[in-house]
């Protein structure tokens, strides 16, 4: 449980992800692990619509497809190596001491799961190489990573700069309490201004919990700015974020039950989709 796994794929977000990883590694004083997953594309290699199968159809097709895959993999491997080297160079320049590089043949979610036992934090871009750069499109991997991984996930957006303040959306549920605990215990957010924001919901005794949390954070040395609003959850949070120079969002992931998520979507995903800020998801 000590590496900062930084997932690079050469997309527009890679630089930001790399910088975020370096920032976290330096702040937590942990080794930086640069990860590049060589994902297999589910796209046809050759198209031969002749529909005829002759002698040795299977073996010749296998050979043809294997050769194509080989060429593609080699290229991707080389590109990935270059990308990792340049990322590691820039990490070195920014004062990282322990830097590891690794490449894996699997999709990014699997790669992260394989390496998770050794992870302190996972840094990932909000969308990957496959996506066009329209703002709302969220990488298909994000949701899977958040759901499957038990390590905090830092989702980097474009142009990552070391944040000085963060906003914590607190809803009084268990996941939120856990998130608060992790914020206090983990050192990543130490010394930053904490905007503790709660939006009224059906939870009983929310106000008391909110006050207690505020005190807890203050006692742990955070500069806390607390706010309790009665708007709709999502709008309330978005408004607060825009009005108070928040530089990073922190959330406990997914407070609904699994079934509810599947049908209703969740505020977590909605937040990720609608923000330009880096976002830290705590489990």
């Amino acid at each position: 449980m000590h590496k900062i796994i930084t997932c690079l794929d050469g997309s527009a977000f890679s630089d930001a992800v790399c910088n975020a990883g370096i920032w976290a590694a330096n702040k937590l004083n942990k080794p930086l692990l640069l990860l590049h997953a060589l994902e297999k594309e589910n796209v046809a290699a050759a198209e031969d619509l002749s529909g005829a199968i002759g002698l040795g159809a299977r073996s010749s097709l296998l050979k043809e497809m294997a050769t194509l895959d080989e060429q593609r993999s080699k290229l991707a491997l080389e590109l990935g190596k270059e990308m990792l080297s340049s990322a590691s160079l820039s990490a070195e320049q920014q004062g990282c001491e322990q830097i590891e590089k690794t490449q894996r043949h699997s999709d990014i979610v699997e790669a992260i799961c394989d390496l998770e036992s050794d992870a302190r934090l996972i840094v990932i871009g909000r969308s990957g190489q496959g996506n066009k750069q329209d703002f709302k499109a969220l990488g298909s991997h994000i949701e899977q990573v958040i759901r499957q991984v038990h390590t905090p996930v830092l989702i980097a957006n474009k142009d990552f700069a070391a944040p000085k303040s963060f906003m914590l959306a607190y809803d009084g549920r268990e996941t939120a309490d856990k998130a608060v605990k992790r914020i206090i215990e983990g050192g990543l957010l130490q010394g930053m201004t904490c905007h503790l924001v709660t939006v009224k919901n059906k939870q009983s005794g929310l106000m008391e919990k909110f006050k207690a949390t505020e005190k807890m954070l203050r006692d742990s040395g955070f500069d806390v700015k607390a706010s309790f609003s009665e708007d709709a959850i999502f709008a309330g949070l978005m408004d607060y974020k825009t009005n108070n120079e928040v530089e990073m969002l922190v959330m406990g992931a997914f407070s609904h039950s699994k079934l509810a998520q599947a049908f209703l979507g969740s505020n977590t995903l909605k937040m990720i989709e609608n923000t330009h800020l880096p976002m830290l998801i705590l489990r």
Binding site: K40, N42, V43, A44, A46, E47, D48, L49, S50, G51, A52, I53, G54, L55, G56, A57, R58, S59, L61, L62, M65, A66, D69, S140, E143, Q144, A262
Partner: protein, 495 residues
């Protein structure tokens, strides 16, 4: 969940649509031909192909694999149709589906690992031979026109892809069928056509419960067929899944595929279709044409039924010779030609397994029997081979004591040799049997050790057995060594 569905259905839309279309066109002649093999109207195979392809696209465990009415299954139902009629076939199809779903829940898909490569090769070769043989009735007692048409058809199928541009964008079997049908219609040849073989579908399939009495007698009639169909269907599906896995370098969910095949067959049985399974040739065509996702299978099934329903008047005109040409292509493409050249390279036991599988299938027309014989032979050969992996070394030590060191595998196949390795005629005071480097795999091994000990005692020698507990650790049915490196080290000691 949703992500996975998106990946399996929509990640390769263009490729899947094109490949699905190619496969749909290739499926029509095959479905008709296989119906004829089974002795039912072409519509039974066409409905089956539609239902199975569409259902398996949704519930199958191997995206990109094509399932429909198949030759392997058709061959098994011939006598059932002949003796009892179509309704019993539909009932048997339902039961087949039920058996396959149970197999899926019992996770029998993993049993495929006992089917060795030579058995698989024998299976596909036998299948190819049977498909070819099934075409022979269309080629005997006919006029020279039919031979000419078939030859021309094969020529078109194999040479058309070499044409620039169009060659690789229009399926050549389709060209063959269109050209031969046009020629036959223009010249007005009096040769057999698809329309002569039975009824074609003119509507979408409708739900109907097989019209058979629900009693024990019915069950006893259909059960043997259903078991055979279920086994062959799963075997061919698992084999095809392995082939698609290899081609696309991805993994499939075998137990899900077993259940999927079952659901698909139940669907087919309820819609008036015959039982089917995954198709090796069509799946290769699908992958070759760029199909990867579930969408390709779905498109193949849907397009097939649309084309058949709207063009049944045209399909009726297709000469059987064109169909035979397509089926000969399928047979040639299914046959593993490299297995013939490999005969020289492979050891005799492997070749015997492969050829025995082929012979049994061709003789009985039952692929399940062939696979059974193949697996049995392969197992015996393997046991025999491992049985030789045992040696007993001995050394006399001073004071009239002899020590035997047993190294290797002791089990039913090697127990006799094990007993014979000891010299009971030698007069010694004490015998030490060192089992530290031996593995006792079964009760036979233990009892033969007992035999050895008793024999020595009868001769008046004192016997000491060393390392018994380590050697017998392998007797229990499940030993979880693979997860623990230390245990593996211990087990592999001496090898």
């Amino acid at each position: 969940m949703l992500e996975k569905m998106k990946l399996e259905w929509l990640s390769n839309i263009r490729g899947d649509l094109l490949a699905g279309t190619v496969v749909a066109l290739a499926l029509i002649p095959e479905a008709i031909a296989f119906s004829i093999i089974a002795g039912v109207d072409p519509k039974v195979g066409l409905y089956a192909s539609f239902c199975i392809a569409v259902i398996i696209a949704i519930v199958g465990g191997r995206p990109g694999m094509i399932s429909a009415a198949t030759g392997a299954m058709a061959l098994l139902m011939v006598t059932l149709v002949k003796d009892h009629g179509l309704e019993y076939l539909l009932a048997a199809t339902l039961l087949t589906g039920v058996i396959q779903i149970i197999a899926g829940y019992l996770k029998l898909g993993s049993l495929m690992r006992f089917v060795s490569r030579s058995v698989v090769t024998g299976f596909v070769n036998a299948l190819a031979i049977l498909i070819f043989m099934a075409q022979l009735p269309e080629l005997t007692n006919v006029t020279w026109h039919v031979y000419a048409m078939t030859a021309a058809g094969l020529g078109i199928i194999y040479l058309f892809p070499y044409l620039p541009v169009v060659g690789k964008s229009i399926p050549s079997p389709l060209v063959c069928i269109v050209v031969l049908t046009a020629v036959a219609m223009m010249i007005g040849l009096d040769i057999r056509t698809v329309g002569d073989m039975g009824e074609l579908p003119d509507t979408l399939p409708i739900f109907l419960w097989p019209d058979v009495p629900l009693n024990l007698e019915t069950l006893l009639i259909i059960l043997p067929y259903s078991v055979g169909l279920a086994i062959v269907g799963l075997l061919e599906s698992m084999m095809t899944a392995t082939i698609v896995d290899d081609l696309t370098d991805t993994k499939s969910d075998r137990n899900k595929e077993c259940k999927g095949q079952g659901i698909a067959n139940i669907g087919a049985g309820l819609m008036g279709g015959m039982a089917g399974c995954a198709m090796i040739g069509q799946s290769i065509i699908n992958v070759k044409s760029g199909g990867r996702g579930r969408l390709s299978t779905f498109v193949a099934g849907t397009l097939l039924i649309i084309m058949v329903v709207f063009m049944d008047d045209w399909i009726k005109q297709i000469p059987m010779a064109a169909l035979v040409a397509v089926m000969i292509m399928v047979s040639i493409g299914t046959f593993s030609w490299s297995s013939i050249t490999d005969l020289k390279k492979h050891p005799l036991s492997t070749n015997v397994v492969m050829i025995a599988t082929v012979i049994v299938v061709v003789a009985t027309h039952n692929l399940a029997l062939g696979v059974f014989v193949g697996v049995l032979l392969a197992t015996l050969f393997f046991a025999n081979k491992i049985g030789r992996f045992m040696v007993v070394k001995s050394e006399p030590s001073n004071d009239n004591v002899r020590t035997y060191h047993v190294v290797g595998q002791v089990f039913f196949a090697s127990s006799e040799q094990f007993v014979e390795s000891f010299d009971f005629k030698e007069v010694v005071d004490k015998v030490v049997i060192d089992l530290n480097h031996a593995h006792f795999w079964d009760i036979t091994a233990v009892s033969s050790l007992d035999k050895v000990v008793i024999k020595f005692k009868r001769e008046g020698s004192e016997v000491e057995v060393v390392g018994m507990s380590a050697a017998t650790e392998t007797i229990v049915d499940k030993f979880g060594v693979l997860s623990d490196p230390k245990e593996v080290e211990k087990l592999m000691a001496g090898h």
